[in-house]
Every structure is written in C-alpha cells, then in structure tokens.
Amino acid sequence: MYTHIMIPVDLTHAEQLKKALRTAADLANHYGISATYVGVTAATPSEIAHNPEEYARKLDDFARAEAARHGHQVRSRAVVSHDPTTDLDATLLRAVEETRADLVVMASHIPNIADHLWPSNGGTIATHARASVLIVR
C-alpha cells in the first residue's frame, strides 16, 4: 500500500503532536514500513538548539525515542531554512520529494478565520504534495 512515511515534527511543540505521532507509528507498523521524521530549523540559535548540528542531533534522538516506543524503523532529516516563518511549506514539500515518502502524516490546528489569510501548513502540503497526506487534528 505505502512504502515510506514522512512525519513533519515541530520539536518545540512536540507534546502537541502525540496523536499524530502515534497515528504515524501505528501505520508504519501496520504496513511494515519505515518513517522519516523531518524537522525544519533556522541557522540562528533557537529555544531548543544552539546551532543546526545540535538541532539535527536532537531530532535524531527524538526519532530514536519514537522507534524505541513503537518499534518501527526510523530515520530523521533536519533541514535548515533561511526564513522558517515563510518557507516552511516549500521546505516540507521539498522534503516529501527527497525522502520519497508516499504518505505524510502531520498534525494541524483546527481551522479558524486566520486560515483564509494564511492557509495552515497541513492544508498547503495536502494541496501541493504528490504523496497522500493524513492531517491529524
């Protein structure tokens, strides 16, 4: 059915992603396929990492912890963006191609009025990615 899952992760708000992470892991185990956890960071220091290398390490630790919890095969992929506020969608869409994922599982907020001005990331990925996209509210 599917060959590879991509899971966009916001490491700063990982606690809000529990449902999506669980869904993704269950699907990976169900189909016996591996998953790539993708995180986007700026090159400047952020609340979770001093530099992109440290971010990549933390993301990899995160992916390994998911694997330990759910028993599926994982990879991690950290991507540096010059301006994550505006480039997140494009960066994630590129990552879908690069990871050759055919299923994206991602968390998204419940739509509100602001989505008419700035569509949510999940909405944009679903509109433009060639892979199937499962948005978890």
Partner: protein, 544 residues
Amino acid sequence: MTDDIGAQGIPAPEGAANIIETDYEIGQDNIQTQIGPFGLDIHNPVFLISGLTIIAFVFLTLAFQQSVEPVFNDLRAWLTGSFDWFFLLAGNVFVLLCLVLIVSPWGAVRIGGKEAVPDYSYPGWFAMLFAAGMGIGLMFYGVAEPISHFGTAMGGVSVEDGARTDWAPLGAAAGNAEEARRLGMAATIFHWGLHPWAIYAVVALALALFSYNKGLPLTIRSVFYPIFGERVWGWTGHVIDILAVFATLFGLATSLGFGAEQANAGLEFLFGLPVSDGSKVFLILAITAVALTSVVAGLDAGVKRLSEINMVLAALLLVFVILAGPTLAILTGFGANLVAYAEYLPALSNPFGREDTNFAQGWTSFYWAWWISWSPFVGMFIARVSRGRTVREFIVCVLLIPSLVSVLWMTAFGGTAISQILSDGVTAVQDAPLELKLFEMLGGLPLTAISSFIGIVLVIVFFVTSSDSGSLVIDTITAGGKVDAPLPQRVFWCVFEGLVAIALLLGGGLGALQAMAVSTGFPFAIVLLLACWAIIKGLASEPR
C-alpha cells in the same frame, strides 16, 4: 531497532564547538498567546514597551509640536556638537579594528563554526547588505554632497570672532577649482566610505559571532554578554533591545516620511504629479504595501529578490551615468579620488583641534551619529545573512568592497555634476533643492526621460528594501531573537512603520523625531566601543 541510515540533512558537528554556557533559554521570557485567530510569540517586556514608547513619542510630538521640536533638535545639535571628538574618535577605532582583523590570524575564524558553509552566494549576499546599508542616501547625496563641499571649499575660509563661519572642509581651497573638486570628493567619500561601513561591520560581526558561534539569541543584547554576563537577560538587556527598536523604527519611519516628500518632488518635476499630502500618503502606502508583500514572501523570495532587483537597477543607472557623462573623467577620477581620499583621510578623521568646526560637527559628527543610529538595524540584518563566511571575507565584503562602490558612485554622480558646473557653466544642479539635484544632473545628460524614470523607481525600491529588512529586524528583536515568530508580527511592524510615517507627515514632527533617532547614536557609540572589545574577546576563544 533504529535505522541503518540514521540522520540525514545536516552533518554532525566536527571540531571544537564554542557555545557560551548560559542558563538562559531563548524564548523563556516570551509570551505565546492568541489574539483572535492570530498566534503571537513576543518577548516580554521588549515588544510591549517598544510599541507603547513609540506610540507615546508620536503623540507627544504631535500634541506639543512647538515645544518638542526645539528640544529634540537642540539635543541632537548638542550631542553632535559637544561630542564631535568622541564620534570621530569612535569612528576611527572601528575602522582600525576592522583593518587589523583582516590581516590578523583571527581573520580565519569562520562565522557559524569551522565547518559552516555560506548561506548565500556572493551576489545575493552583497545585494542585501548594500540595499540595507546605504540605499536611499546614495541617490540624494551622491549629487548633492560633492557639489556642496565643492562650493564651500571654493568659497574659502571666513572667520568671525575667531571662529570659522564657513562650512568648508579643512582649510578649504579658495578659488582653486581643481583643488576644491579634490577636497570636495575626498570629504564626500570620507562620509560614505570606510567609516560608515566599519560601523556596520562592527555591529554585524559582533552579532554574527555571538549568535552563530556562541549560540546566543540573535538580538542586540547578546553582544553584551561578555560585559554584563547573565544580567543581559534582565533589564540591562531589555533597555538595549528597546533602544535598538526605537532607533530603528524612528529612523525608518522618518526617512520614509522625508523620502515620500523627496519622491513626490521628483515625480512632480518629471511627470507633474502635484505635491500634496494626498500624493505623499499614497507614496508611503505604496512603499509600505510593496515592503509588506516582501516580508510576507520571506527572506529569500521577498527581501533577497528585491535587493537583487535594486542592485541591477542601481548598476544600470551607474553605468548609464558613466557612459553618458564625462566617461574618461569619471574613470580617471575614480583613481584620482581614491588618492585624494587617502591624502585627506588623516586630516578629515582627526578628532582633536579641528578648525573647520561647522564641517566637523555639522557634517562628519552628524553623519557618524546617523550611521551609528542605523547600525543596530543594518548590523543585525547583515549578521543574519552572513553565516558561513570567514571574518576576513566578511570584512573585505562589508568594509572594502562597499567603500569602493561608494567611491565609484560618488565619482560618477558627483563628478558629473561638478563638471557640468565647471566646464559647461550650468548652475541648475547647484541651485536646485536637495531632492531635485539628482534629476537636474540627469537632465544635463541624454535620454533624460529614461534615466530619470529609473532614478525615481530606484528611490522607491531603495525605500522598500530598507523597510522590509527593518521590519524583519524589529520583529526578531521583539520576539527575543526568534526568527520563526508568527507572520502577523512582522506584518504588524511593517504597517506600524508606515502609519508612524503618515502620522508624522500629516501632523508635523518628522524633523523632531529624526533628530531624536539620530540622538540615539550617542549611547550606541558607547555600546559599539564595548562591542569592539566583545569581538576581540569572542574571537580569541574561537578555534581557527
């Protein structure tokens, strides 16, 4: 269990890392909240206090214009007059530090760590730092300043009660046209060459170093970590950041207001667009709208692309002036002006015992205060886009190359205007008001309609590139150094800047608040001297 392939994307760090260990966590003081449907992530209290102080100052100025204006103007005049030696001395320290860093072994330190690769190619990087750094001033002063210095130098020295009343640089060159031209060009290049770029380079290098190499948040206060230690995360740091936001926003808003007046005058001269409040407000709205589109598109798709367009247009105009103007004189003038600059530099930059007080205080000291008050904004923007360069590359590209471009620009624009006066006897440029001098000069060359049109477009684009990068910088400072704060915040700052400009334009007070913004150059000059020390201390602990 886990993969055989492992992490992809970013390579594991190699070599010694040099992170400053601090208990502060970026964003720990931030308030993350929801206003209506919009998410916010703002620094407490920097965002709120900056915003409210700015509003308070605008109201104060509008309400008590008569009494406030002289206060701010006197403050500025007093600072640049009494502390001219301090500004000049500080400027020299910045240039010397930069030149020493180029040849010192510290030049090999790489911003972002030993393994870092440049974020931007040379053309994109250069376009962005140039568009943020000088921009609009080159358009108006490129013609106006050489002419002014040339004129006053020709006029010679006049003394009343033992004090110089003329505005000529140094000892002037009464009646000697050739020497007055050399002195005028040297004085102009002095104000647009090594010194301003050294001011930017110091701020930018300090920020880049402490952010990318030491892991501190990308905000002005981080530079002071070596001096104040953990206190920079408290009120000491809040005050530094608030002052930076204040200087940046008022610097940008007042330039935008004045710029709209200048652009309006240009448009009237060229196309007969009436000079009115309506036209000016429309110009500010248009500039803000384009800047807004740019910040919403982001750093790469918006700001960088606009800067590149800007660069191409500026290059076109420069090449046009060189070809259509006195080509040979400009090309030989470039070398001659460099020599004149080098020759007069020691005397022009001498902070003590100056006799040309009007020039040293009214021009040089004012310029230094002006550049310094812009430096938190320009420096922080340059820092953000300079990851992956070595210190040596960085200073060559932020100090030497822009200085050379300034020399060429001034030679072409000012040189053409001076030779129109000298050889053709045309005084239109000399007699025209500041905002029309550029167009009068272009009027003396062929294809005026096309070149003037490019000129006016360039004036507007230069405003946009200052406005969009400025909004990004203010947003980052008021988000506690986060570059991924929600989009509505940068939209807010960009719009706010336009609104402040409109309020001041209609209510009066552009001059008063511009004087206020320039006055912040004084505290920042002290701050920058401390930054020099922080740079040395920071570089000394870096692996090379």
